[in-house]
């Protein structure tokens, strides 16, 4: 299956039809989706109709846009007008948004073809996509293993060739970790780079939408389309963002690549081995390697598991059975709230709502949420100092390759550790991405994480592209 850049070029030139492209991808879905379960909903008819429109534009001599005819999979926490949007939760049963998320509008304006809504850990809370109310997604590289999460459906869809591109959301690593486990490129841009309007919130100060792709260049193309200021999102950055697609070919020469000498332990040997090779590859490509320290790195996980749940406890309070989604009737309103939420939310979501409610409660706020905010500031400042010495930092994306189903299901803390390397970028708002860099144990994909300073996506993409080239 061709990459997105090539598909768009050929559709725009008329050498292939968008309808043919869609049919190829639908055929791939028909073949493997039953065992993978990447999607909550495949939008076959809508995709075919959209592809016809794209072809009609080309036939009429009009340019459908930079993503002309490119099939894309959307994580099912992004609102699509008139199309069920579930967050893989029973609580949103039957709800159809009356509006499109800003990213969805931008994709449509760029000529993309949405092929389906993908599975996720309920409300994006999890690292394996096992927490979905609709059953888990399987890793296309080994269907006995998880695809990572929470954007496991989008990662698996792109990895399995169901879609050329995917969109995920990343609150603590939910794009980068599944990208690593599925062997695709996954990007969490700078906080505010992409509008969150229409992304169903998990933790508003941490959530960010970003691309999945089969190549660094494809990811750059997609980010160029979805990035930029949105008047509907007060936290979106008023930037005239650079065309990342133009910089991916510039090479790593002259880049200062940082090694975090006090990085928390815990990564498997096969993963650290690939990381060392990544440093070697960038050095060989003309980068210089520098040592940096981020002593508070290890506290990121703890801070995250207070701040994320605190915001989630508030964001998810609106699912009360009053206006939309699931309602379980009871004697009075307060009882209705209780039974509706008890029936509608899964265990992990309930766990985080309770954790967050507790962390914000009178008498506990200062010790928990308040202190977590201080740690967040500390980590941010330490990273800022590191970025004065280094343009990008390399770390593992995930401590391990894809793990078997159920391996961490009974142990939330073990599951939370999956995100130890990805979480700091969400706390600081800095961009990070995972790029596939060979394989590790059981011949499964290993991702290397490239981190960069605020709005330093160009340097990040240059380094990632250099790693990608070193491998080919």
């Amino acid at each position: 299956m061709a990459d997105a850049i090539e598909i768009a070029a050929r559709v725009r030139s008329g050498s292939v039809t968008a309808v043919d492209i869609v049919e190829q991808h639908l055929a791939a879905i028909a073949k493997r989706e039953p065992e993978i379960h990447a999607f909550n909903l495949v939008l076959a008819e809508q995709a075919r109709a959209r592809a016809h429109e794209v072809d009609a534009m080309v036939a009429a001599g009009r340019d459908p846009g930079p993503l002309a005819g490119v099939p894309i999979a959307l994580k099912d926490n992004m609102c699509t007008r008139g199309v069920p949007t579930t967050c893989s939760s029973k609580i949103l049963a039957g709800w159809k948004p009356p509006y499109d998320a800003t990213v969805v509008s931008k994709l449509a304006a760029a000529g993309a073809v949405v092929i389906g809504k993908t599975n996720l850990d309920e409300f994006a809370m999890g690292s394996s996509t096992e927490n979905s109310a609709f059953g888990p997604t399987r890793n296309p590289h080994d269907i006995t293993r998880v695809p990572g999460g929470s954007s496991g459906g989008s990662a698996a869809a792109v990895s399995a060739g169901f879609a050329s591109l995917g969109l995920g959301s990343d609150t603590g690593g939910s794009i980068r970790q599944p990208a690593a486990l599925c062997g695709v490129v996954g990007v969490k841009p700078t906080y505010g780079y992409v509008s969150r309007y229409g992304l169903i919130a998990f933790a508003s100060s941490l959530d960010q939408i970003g691309p999945f792709a089969n190549s660094v260049a494809d990811a750059a193309l997609l980010l160029d389309v979805i990035g930029g200021h949105d008047p509907m999102d007060s936290t979106s950055i008023p930037l005239t963002h650079p065309a990342l697609l133009d910089v991916v070919g510039q090479g790593a020469e002259g880049l200062r690549v940082g090694r975090i000498t006090d990085l928390p332990d815990g990564a498997d040997p096969d993963v650290t081995e690939r990381l060392e090779l990544a440093f070697d590859a960038l050095r060989a490509a003309g980068a210089t390697i520098v040592d940096v320290q981020v002593p508070a790195f290890e506290f990121g996980l703890t801070a995250y598991y207070l701040i994320g749940p605190a915001e989630a406890s508030s964001n998810l309070a609106r699912y009360d059975g009053v206006r939309y989604g699931l309602r379980v009737d009871a004697a009075d309103t307060n009882a209705m709230y209780g039974v509706t939420r008890a029936a509608g939310f899964g265990d992990e979501v309930k766990r985080r709502i309770m954790l967050g409610t507790y962390a914000l409660s009178a008498g506990y706020y200062d010790a928990y949420y308040g202190k977590a905010l201080k740690v967040r500031r500390l980590i941010h400042d330490e990273f800022e100092r590191a970025y004065q010495r280094a343009d990008v930092l390399l770390t593992p994306t995930s401590p391990s390759v894809a793990f078997p189903f159920g391996a961490k299901g009974d142990n939330p803390l073990a599951m939370y550790l999956c995100d130890v390397y990805t979480i700091p970028a969400n706390l600081t708002g800095h961009p990070g991405m995972s790029v596939p860099f060979g394989t590790g144990a059981a011949d499964l994909p290993v991702g290397v994480q490239v981190l960069a300073g605020t709005l330093c996506e160009p340097q990040m993409f240059r380094a990632a592209a250099a790693l990608e080239r070193a491998l080919s």
Binding site: L199, M232, S234
Partner: protein, 476 residues
């Protein structure tokens, strides 16, 4: 035996008011839906108003500007501020949190001066969004508890509010009423709100406590559901007496929120402090901090209209009356002070104009300032009595203006010469001998009957002042 507010013993009332005001913006605080009262239910809504998943708030600049006007009018400092989430469940609050301002409000440390010069501190005036409106059916009392079903109108959800919190500086029921009236005048003057208590665009909660001088402040109760200035006075008075009764019988006041029942004229427990929600305030991550620049503040200040107090002072100066006279209060409240000034500018007598406008202009009639000016001139030069002038004013109002001299002539109004008056006075004394002797014996009240008699004899043409003077002269 009683304090200046009529409370028994030494008891002293202490009141702080929290006033919620709906801002008169075109759209809602965080979305583009119209901010309009009285529309069909659930027509002014959108994903943000309904708190639909994925919807995000965007701050309304006009709301900030109106809130800044309120702050400046209340002598507040405008400071960099932020929004917080106040978390609690209620069916008419779509997100299950209200976006409000917590420890970083927009306006702080101001004051409002009552017409008599008493200064009431204003702790803060902050921005927040309104909730929807629930109507409960079945059960009793229109409360959610025990009702069969409820209907919710989200038109009001997301309407911008300013909450103005006074310091507990109010000491009498009358001061509380004055505070609300003066605040209402200010809000109208700056165009921040239509401030209608009966429509709920201005809602007043009162924190009431009592104590004795030189003792610590008492435990307060918050009184809600007060829907008019009159009710506010009644509710505070009832609550103060309730608290005094409890304290005097040796009981303690429980800190609680109480509901004013207009029907039985009492306050009833709504919820106690123990079952108050823990709102779990935290910084609203969907919004960015708000820090109005000095240029913006200066521009808002420069565009501020004259406030009621200043207008009353101006009127008082021109009319040589007290700035807190009833006439000055009423005329400024009606916005007719500019008209009075125009009458003065047209050569009329400002003091007489003020009286006529206050007495006769309640329906805001249109009478050219020059016409009223001419009337007042005739009046002060003694060509018309006050009674006659009143009749001419009525004619001016009925005709939308006119020549006062012609109207007076047509009505046969001519000021009587002093000689003619003198004979009428003599006649009145002859016909009212008893009254005259009482008057001469020092009974001032008897003057009324004597003057009345002259007025009757003159068919209303006599000038009351001149007649009084003549009687006094004759008495010697």
């Amino acid at each position: 035996m009683s304090g200046r507010d009529g409370l028994p013993g030494e008891w002293q009332l202490v009141v702080g008011l929290e006033v919620h005001v709906e801002l008169a913006t075109v759209t809602k605080l965080f979305s583009a839906s119209p901010n309009r009262f009285g529309d069909e239910p659930n027509t002014n809504i959108d994903p943000v108003t309904l708190g639909l998943p994925g919807a995000l708030p965007v701050l309304n600049r006009q709301a900030v500007e109106l809130a800044m006007r309120v702050g400046l009018a209340l002598n507040c400092t405008i400071q960099p501020c932020a929004f917080h989430r106040k978390n609690y469940f209620y069916p008419d609050m779509p997100k299950a949190y209200q976006i409000s301002q917590y420890d970083q409000p927009l306006n702080i440390d101001g004051h409002l001066e009552l017409p008599d010069g008493t200064r009431i501190g204003v702790e803060r005036a902050h921005l927040e969004e309104d909730t929807g409106k629930s109507t409960h059916f079945g059960g009793s009392g229109g409360r959610i508890h025990g009702s069969d079903y409820s209907l919710i109108d989200f038109n009001r959800a997301g309407v911008p509010l300013v909450e103005i919190v006074s310091r507990p500086d109010i000491r009498t029921v009358d001061e509380a009423r004055q505070y609300v009236n003066e605040l209402r005048g200010i809000l109208l003057a700056v165009g921040a709100s239509d401030a209608k208590m009966e429509e709920g665009s201005m809602r007043v909660d009162a924190n009431v406590s009592v104590h004795k001088p030189a003792t610590p402040l008492g435990t307060r109760c918050e009184i809600k559901n007060v829907n008019s200035v009159r009710s506010l006075g009644r509710a505070i008075d009832y609550e103060a007496r309730r608290q005094i009764d409890l304290l005097e019988s040796g009981e303690r006041i429980r800190q609680e929120t109480r509901h004013w029942d207009e029907g039985d004229g009492r306050t009833h427990t709504l919820r106690t402090k123990e079952d108050a929600d823990d709102y779990r305030y935290f910084l609203e991550p969907d919004l960015v901090p708000l820090a109005p620049s000095q240029q913006w503040i200066d521009a808002v200040r420069a565009a501020m209209p004259m406030l009621p107090a200043a207008r009353r002072a101006r009127l008082a100066e021109v009319t040589a009356t007290a700035s807190n006279s009833e006439a000055a209060m009423v005329v400024v409240e009606r916005g007719q002070d500019d008209y009075v000034l125009a009458v003065a500018a047209a050569g009329g007598d400002a003091a007489r104009a003020l009286v006529h406008v206050k007495e006769a202009f309640a329906d805001s009639p249109s009478v050219p300032a020059a016409d009223l000016a001419k009337l007042t001139t005739m009046e002060v030069s003694g060509k018309l009595t006050a009674t006659q002038a009143k009749a001419v004013v009525a004619e001016l109002i009925a005709n939308g203006g006119g020549d006062a001299a012609q109207i007076a002539a047509a009505k046969g109004f001519e000021a009587m010469e002093t000689d003619a008056l003198g004979s009428l006075v003599d006649q009145a004394i002859a016909e009212n001998a008893e009254a005259w002797s009482k008057f001469c014996a020092g009974e001032g009240k008897a003057m009324g009957a004597l003057v009345g008699a002259v007025m009757k004899l003159s068919h209303g043409k006599a000038d009351g002042k001149a007649v009084t003077a003549l009687f006094n002269q004759k008495k010697g």
